[in-house]
Subunit: 432 residues, 2 copies
């Protein structure tokens, strides 16, 4: 794919090239009301201000809907549907392209540029969607296998249902936060001696605080209750993708999760990256996922197998002393089930999906030791230590540790489609 050249200065290597145009919610010191923007290079284009100054004069389809850009979430814009997202993205690309056919919209209007283009360092990012329901899947086959081996041995590592349906559970929507929000170490019930016959739990700060490297996808089309989303229409119900860190309290989880699944171990915080990369922008990076050697039921069978994304993912851990170590590098193609499959399965019962619902992929791990998306897998459930630069070691996360997930598609430094970062730092537990 040849890169689009722009009259606007977009730094080489930027995640937000003209090939991307991700959407997010910003506010600024001078205008504190959250509103819709796109990222271009190291600037945000304030779409509320752009629309108010007649920036969409050459795009008649969006004009009746311009109020969506003044909303404090992307829900209203997303609800307009994939074809509208597509024309808006293409229009913005054309406005910024070197040989734009609309030079007077922005290229030659220096006053407007000053008004609507805000350096990213000066914007505050907000949660991009008002999330009605959040569902976390478990589609990372290598992760599920690694964890299964730790707890049940290699013969029974995967449950019998694993390759037949995208295993998932309902998560907690209220604790999904935007990148940069501090995460407080949770208190909860843990067993100090899990092997003891008589189980005696104590209330304690979580001692096995972990990360989960995931993708999140946002729904942009509702279905009526009782009417499943057919697999062939599922892709068209997905708005775009973010990076996600599903913080996990392994010791709380081990004690609580039988028989109804993880609860408190997962409800204290889930961090997502701030800029939502549109499905359209990711289309050139579609690829096959992991091979499923089971027969998949028709309601989950996709015509096109290339419904996964090849996003280069990286996880960095920075200790309170400032030393940073890359602890994982992998690709998001390491999934057994695609987002369209998750959506088709989720709704096969007639479950009503709503605009702004968030689907988590499950932890993404590759096959190699350096490709694991959770500390649990890296330290074999606490048996070994993870060596960090600067001589530090970790089993699980310490107070003050900062986790940064980054993700990017492509190799042309002038046409990257990236997600920026998904960052969270651990604060000490509340004294109980």
């Amino acid at each position: 794919m040849s890169s689009l050249r722009s009259w606007f200065s977009i730094p080489r290597g930027s995640h937000f090239s003209l090939a991307n145009i991700p959407f997010g919610i910003i506010s600024t010191a001078s205008s504190k009301t959250p509103r819709v923007a796109v990222a271009i290079g190291d600037h945000a284009l304030d779409l509320e201000a752009f629309a108010a100054s007649n920036g969409f004069s050459a795009l008649s389809t969006i004009q009746p809907h311009q109020a969506v850009f003044s909303q404090s979430s992307l829900n209203a814009f997303a609800a307009l549907g994939r074809p509208i997202h597509s024309v808006v993205r293409k229009y913005i690309q054309s406005v910024f392209s070197e040989d734009t056919t609309y030079p007077n919209v922005l290229k030659t209007d220096f006053d407007l540029q000053k008004k609507v283009l805000v350096p990213l360092k000066d914007v505050k990012m907000h949660l991009p969607f008002k999330i009605g329901d959040y569902t976390d899947f478990y589609a990372g086959l290598n992760h599920a296998y690694n964890v299964g081996v730790l707890f049940r041995g290699p013969a029974n590592a995967l449950q019998p249902n694993y390759k037949h349906l995208p295993v998932g559970y309902h998560g907690r929507a209220s604790s999904v936060v935007v990148s940069g929000t501090p995460i407080r170490r949770p208190n909860g019930q843990v067993l100090s001696n899990p092997a003891a016959e008589k189980k005696v739990p104590a209330l304690s700060p979580c001692q096995k605080l972990d990360i989960e490297l995931e993708l999140g996808a946002f729904v942009c089309k509702a279905n009526n209750m009782g009417e499943p989303v057919p697999i062939g229409e599922a892709e068209g119900s997905l708005f775009g993708v973010v990076l996600m860190n599903d913080w996990s309290a392994r010791d709380i989880q081990a004690w609580e999760y039988v028989p109804l699944g993880p609860f408190n171990a997962k409800n204290f915080g889930t961090t997502i990256s701030a800029w939502v990369v549109l499905a359209d922008a990711l289309a050139p990076f579609k690829t096959k996922g992991l091979e499923n050697d089971s027969e998949v039921l028709p309601y989950l069978k996709e015509k096109d197998e290339k419904t996964f994304y090849d996003i280069k993912l990286q996880v960095d851990l920075k200790t309170p002393t400032g030393n940073s170590t890359t602890i994982s590098k992998t690709s998001s193609r390491n999934l057994l089930w695609s987002f369209p499959q998750m959506l088709a399965h989720h709704s096969i019962t007639g479950c009503p999906m709503q605009v702004g619902d968030l689907l988590g992929s499950g932890t993404i791990s590759g096959l190699e030791p350096g490709e694991r998306g959770s500390l649990l897998e890296q330290n074999e459930n606490g048996k070994t230590s993870i060596m960090l630069s600067g001589g530090d070691e970790r089993k699980f996360l310490g107070d003050g540790d900062e986790i940064t997930i980054s993700g990017v598609c492509g190799s042309d430094e002038d046409a990257l489609v990236g997600f920026g970062q998904c960052v969270g730092r651990i604060e000490p537990a509340l004294k109980m």
Copy 2:
């Protein structure tokens, strides 16, 4: 408790005596915009219209907030806090009492009575809250024990964590519906031969469609992320209670639920009763729950043990031929954990609770065969049949079956505090 006498005609035996004053969301043929009302006898008092006609003239505290009564959900009213709910309820009771000190507010204003008092048969009820997150607990000890015996035998019926923490899981908020909404039998993956070594699932209409008799409680106070709700403050964070039927697809659940808990088995519909009975109205019916013979950690320990409600619950099944059978009668005191305990546990990690969040109690069963809150327990997971009047039999629900849950506190027919009904009828599965 002596009954409050009213100048207004409230039928003897009404669930909505002057001792109750439950809140709900109504619309009418002549005014289709949903708004807040209370139920009194067999009428709804339209609080939007009442406020607009200066009905709250003698209650200065509510006057700056009267816009809450024009909302399409109770969230804004609930967010005003327990002291305000209390004064509004007491004011309405005093307006309706025989010897009201405000006779000209309504008692002697016949025109206003016509305007604001609508027969319940002429109102359409809506979902009372905009539910951000819905969490379903499992606090019905007898139910958990009965189900445990069916699947694991009496020795291991309860998991080791059961008496130490209120087991719960995050549910699906988007499919919580108001009483009367039809429930379509879900399709999903089931094993036709669960005992076979090689597990081969098929897509099928659920064959083991079940009910779960539960209470639901709504949250009226948010906590900041990272800051647990102390057990001593949890009761003050609860708005009120509804009846709940947590429809469950047992065959889908059996195949999907390991290791992350029920998902599709629970996301196709959860029915709640339309009128929310305030915590204040239930206060006279507080009682102890089931005894917990484990040592409970301090963050779950309540000063007062009487934090459960003695609500007489009943489940009726009506077949398509019109025969109706009472299939269960029990009391809501059959719980091991109270709603304040559930809230304290839910938030101990710092999970942010929001106004409008719904907490489900878990299935409520007594000790006797006629007191079981699910068909699964009644039919011993399909081994026996439930005999219905008119000669019908059931293992699980058939198409066209209608389930009605009712619940009421008290025995003075002029001072009942009841919930009305929680009704749902099963529609045939969609042909796939």
